[in-house]
């Protein structure tokens, strides 16, 4: 029986395994050195905040794996021998495979800052990171201030987490506004205000200079590069993005760049070896997508596609329209299609913001044809299925605005804002 071995029990590896099982009777082994069972990394924050316990973040009951004949192996893989199709583990065990799926995920970025390897300096990626955080910052007596470095999705989650335990947070963001490399300025600035309204000490245009140390090798402060100001703290969170976790792969014959290089079929240069999820890098980018997509959904979709290939139905990774979502403190965010921080050539933005400063939308469209390209929505839930359809049908923005009600996904009885949006749109474009 063919043995499929998967390194990594995250969403991509687990999705591949589940679908291979659905399609075939192959022997499947999933390896991880992080946790015995698959858990939802995206829920890490809720464990620290006390919304859930670790147990609740596991999407499948522990009995699921045995029932579906998916073997789980706990251990760190240290080498891949592609010639003999064998993996080596830290404890010198070996494991033979017929096909190998690399789904090793990411690691937190460190950019060579002075002091980045001190104690009490953490990233937020793994379960181990969370356990460390719990030890360093159990409450605001032990941890009297924390500095979070890096204004992205994980940074703001870490700030919210610490805030939930009433630990004062200084949030260093290199850009002019929070996440404004991705978000148009109207949205980014609204989020700046929201972050501050929660009492977060948000420092824009601020780079980390260095992290200072006490006598025991613990971080005790952060120096801001621009101003030289020192902020004393008991915890430094480095959340300046992630990059593929491929140290293991680098010493093998498998080609890598920033990630493991794959073609559209998620195949590496070595036969029978594949890579999916955060650690994979497309040789040629797909549409507007980045060659490395470090999001939950793409990991899942790669797993779905690769399972077909492995089970004899060779299938390219061919994602549909882009979508994503996040939550910034109390403001939910969803996006469908492409909205860039500044409109791409030939495109323009329509922006609407509610007076309460908690809701807004931005639509990117082709100026000449009025074709709708994408929407960012804050504080209003929208229907994935409807936008997916409108994008496929290449609807005009006029049409989208007029039919926006159809896409509303807020709970029943919620106040709706479509009329206000239509009015704003008509005013801006002098429509009847």
């Amino acid at each position: 029986m063919e043995h499929i071995v998967i390194i990594g029990n995250g969403i991509s590896g687990v999705t591949a395994a589940r679908h291979i099982r659905k399609l075939s009777d192959k022997k499947i082994t999933i390896i991880s050195a992080e946790t015995e069972h698959f858990f939802s990394r995206t829920a890490l924050m809720y464990i620290y905040m006390g919304h859930m316990q670790y147990e609740h973040t596991k999407p499948y009951e522990d009995s699921f794996w045995k029932k579906n004949r998916i073997d789980l192996k706990f251990g760190l893989v240290t080498a891949i021998d592609t010639e003999h199709k064998s993996l080596q583990f830290e404890n010198n065990e070996n494991l033979q495979f017929d096909k190998l799926i690399i789904a090793t995920g990411s690691i937190s970025n460190k950019f060579g800052w002075k002091g980045q390897d001190l104690k009490s300096v953490i990233g937020l990626y793994s379960k181990q990171d969370l356990d460390q955080l719990e030890a360093i910052a159990p409450n605001n007596e032990v941890c009297q201030r924390a500095v979070v470095v890096g204004g992205g999705l994980i940074g703001i989650e870490l700030a919210e987490m610490l805030h939930s335990r009433k630990i004062p947070v200084t949030f260093l963001v290199r850009e002019e506004s929070f996440w404004d490399v991705v978000l148009p300025s109207g949205e980014a600035q609204m989020l700046d205000r929201h972050i501050k309204s929660h009492g977060i000490d948000l420092r824009l245009n601020s780079n980390l200079g260095e992290i200072t140390s006490d006598d025991h090798g613990h971080a005790n402060g952060v120096i801001i590069a621009e101003t030289g100001e020192t902020i004393s703290c008991n915890l430094v969170g480095l959340t300046a993005g992630v990059s593929p976790n491929i140290t293991l792969v680098k010493s093998s014959t498998i080609e890598t760049d920033r990630g493991v290089l794959v073609n559209r079929y998620l195949e590496t240069n070595v036969k029978d070896v594949y890579a999916i999820g955060d650690c994979a890098q497309q040789r040629e980018p797909i549409g507007n997508r980045k060659p490395i997509e470090a999001v939950w959904y793409t990991g899942r979709m790669m797993g779905e596609a690769l399972a077909q290939t492995i089970c004899g139905n060779r299938m390219a990774y061919n994602p549909g329209h882009w979508f994503n979502s996040a939550k910034f403190f109390d403001i939910e965010y969803q996006t469908y299609g492409w909205v860039f921080a500044t409109p791409k050539g030939g495109n323009a933005h329509f922006h609407w913001k509610h007076n309460d400063d908690q809701k807004c939308i931005t639509i990117e469209y082709q100026e000449a044809s009025n074709i709708f390209l994408g929407i960012n929505t804050f504080g209003i839930r929208m229907r994935h299925e409807v936008f997916d359809r409108w994008l496929t049908e290449q609807r005009t923005t006029d049409y989208v605005i007029k039919n926006l009600k159809e896409a509303n996904f807020d709970p029943e009885f919620y106040k709706t804002f479509e009329d206000a949006i239509i009015r704003a749109y008509s005013n801006q474009f002098n429509m009847a």
């Binding site: 969403i11 679908h19 659905k22 939802s40 995206t42 829920a43 809720y46 464990i47 905040m49 006390g50 919304h51 859930m52 316990q53 670790y54 609740h56 973040t57 596991k58 999407p59 009951e61 719990e134 159990p138 409450n139 939930s164 335990r165 009433k166 929660h198 939950w296 959904y297 899942r300 979709m301 779905e304 596609a305 077909q308 299938m315 390219a316 061919n318 994602p319 549909g320 329209h321 979508f323 979502s325 996040a326 939550k327 403190f329 109390d330 939910e332 969803q334 839930r381 929208m382 229907r383 994935h384 299925e385 997916d388 996904f409 807020d410 709970p411 029943e412 009885f413 919620y414 106040k415």
Partner: protein, 532 residues
């Protein structure tokens, strides 16, 4: 992780979950209010009962309001689950167990030792806690209080004050606010005030049984007892109207509403048990068991209760009907045939049109159906006038009342809030919920729609589902949630951080979908895999 579980067992503050100064004062107020009742319980004879009762209830109310204001109004509107699993009382810690035991003891005394609460022996004068409620009882219904009046008052106060708290907690969510106003209204007006006023109308020549109009059979399993039916018939037009309303609500009103809105119209907008669960019980909703095993137990237990209550009610009515069709058209045999016929029509309809939806459960449905039919036939052949199968029907009824009405809905249902979560009764024991759920699963426009591929499997929805539904298991497959047990509380949709869930009433077509490949992936692949 384990450190967290342990820390909640200690009384010392875990992490920063300490109460603010205002919250401490608020708790103190509430405790003083309860203390006054405790004193009354131990027969302290308060000089002016009205003042002390008002003081007691007033302090409890003021304490809860003060606590809620401080807990929620000092923060921005949004999801307020920070530290839920660190609080001893909300995570089966020492305080949780203490509260659970205290509530359970209260129920045991209430049901079985009401005299300890001060209830008068026949004809005597109330003492203790019950006496403290006498003035209020006189004011409302003209007579002295009973333990049930005490309980009803406390129950109503609990729904009102904790309803207020819940509304602040979800002040960003209109759905939650409206349905909370609704349960507060139905409890205050229908369950509490109207029946008391009705009792006031009773005289020697005119008497209506206690009737909470929003209670529908099988929840008020006693509704068709002989003494009730008799007294409703004797009470003339009004009584007859009540009787007819009782029947119409089962066969017409409830099916229509459930078809249009799902069982939530009752379970989380009207019902008193649901009302308490959603308000006072809200802090415990995450304690429900989500395992597959619990689901299995749930289906067996709750459906057995339905079978039991159906047979019992049939037996009770059967036992007092006559045999002579010339006196009254509804005889024992007509009635039995009617019940059997109705069940057969429902069963046949389900098996012919809805078999697919039920899948494996169809077998159990068939078993249940045959058990009932066999028993009905048995009833016909082996029954005397007062008994069915040689068992006194009122014995049947009183065992049901004891086992289900008292032990299950009270002692376990509420007493165990802090251990098993707030909807144990609704999930495992309530025959009404089971029957509405059956319809909801098969014949209703209600569902929880999943938003394409947006789910990140975080688990908030499942954790906070009080009915123990593993919502995530559906959401992460892009599948709508169409579960008979869903009471439509809307909390899963509220706590979802990615806007994945929406409670909706929409067309029955395509309500139950099942996707292996989710929206967002290759369209061809989706078509290939999802079309089975």
């Amino acid at each position: 992780m384990s450190t967290k579980i342990n820390s909640s067992m200690s009384l010392a503050k875990p992490d920063s979950q300490t109460l603010s100064k205002t919250q401490k004062i608020a708790v103190a107020l509430g405790v003083v209010g309860l203390f006054i009742m405790a004193l009354a319980l131990f027969n302290v004879d308060f000089p002016n009962k009205i003042i002390f009762l008002s003081l007691s209830l007033g302090l409890i109310t003021a304490g809860t309001i003060m606590f809620s204001n401080n807990a929620y109004l000092t923060k921005q509107a949004g999801i307020k689950n920070d530290g839920v699993w660190f609080k001893s009382i909300a995570s089966r810690g020492l305080w949780g167990w203490a509260l659970g035991i205290a509530l359970t003891l209260f129920y045991v005394v209430l049901y079985f030792k009401a005299e300890w609460l001060g209830l008068a022996a026949d004809g005597g004068v109330n003492g203790g806690l019950v006496a403290m409620f006498d003035p209020l009882s006189r004011l409302l219904n003209g007579g002295p209080a009973s333990q049930w009046f005490v309980y009803g008052t406390l129950y109503t106060v609990a729904i009102l004050v904790f309803g207020y708290k819940f509304m602040l907690k979800y002040r960003h969510n209109r759905y939650e606010q409206l349905r909370t106003i609704s349960v507060m209204f139905f409890q205050l007006a229908f369950a509490f005030l109207i029946p008391e006023f009705m009792a006031r109308l009773n005289s020697e020549t005119f008497s209506l049984p206690y009737y909470d109009l929003k209670n529908i059979w099988p929840l008020n399993f006693y509704n068709f007892d002989k003494y009730r039916v008799d007294s409703m018939i004797e009470a003339g037009d009004i009584g007859l109207a009540f009787l007819i309303f009782g029947i119409v609500s089962i066969f017409v009103i409830s099916p229509i509403l459930t078809y249009k809105y799902g069982k939530r119209w009752y379970c989380s907008w009207v019902c008193g048990c649901g009302g308490l669960a959603e308000t006072a019980g809200d802090p415990f909703r995450h304690l429900s068991d989500k395992s597959q095993f619990a689901w299995k137990v749930e289906r067996w237990v709750v459906h057995s209760v339905v079978v039991f209550v159906t047979l019992m009610t049939t037996a009770v009515i059967y036992s007092y009907l006559g045999n002579d069709s010339s006196k009254y058209w509804l005889t024992k045999d007509v009635f039995l045939l009617g019940v059997a016929g109705l069940l057969t029509v429902v069963f046949a309809w389900v098996m012919i049109f809805k078999r697919k939806e039920l899948a494996k459960d169809a077998q159990y449905g068939a078993i249940g159906y045959f058990v009932i039919i066999m028993v009905l036939i048995g009833m016909h052949y082996f029954s005397g006038t007062k008994n069915v199968f040689l068992v006194d029907t009122y014995f049947l009824k009183s065992s049901y009342g004891f086992l289900i009405g008292a032990i299950f809905s009270g002692v376990i249902g509420v007493g165990f809030y802090p251990i098993f979560g707030n909807r144990v009764w609704c999930r495992f024991g309530c025959p009404m919920a089971a029957m509405l759920g059956f319809q909801q699963r098969l014949f209703s426009k209600f569902r929880i729609t999943t938003n394409g591929g947006q789910c990140i499997s975080c688990g908030n929805c499942s954790t906070y589902c009080e009915m123990g539904i593993d919502v995530r298991a559906y959401a992460q497959k892009g599948e709508n949630i169409v579960r008979s047990s869903c009471v439509g509380c809307g909390i899963c949709a509220a706590v979802c951080p990615r806007g994945v869930l929406k409670l909706e009433n929409d067309s029955m077509n395509g309500r139950i979908n099942s996707n292996d490949i989710l929206l967002g992936n290759d369209v061809d692949l989706m078509d290939l895999v999802n079309q089975k």
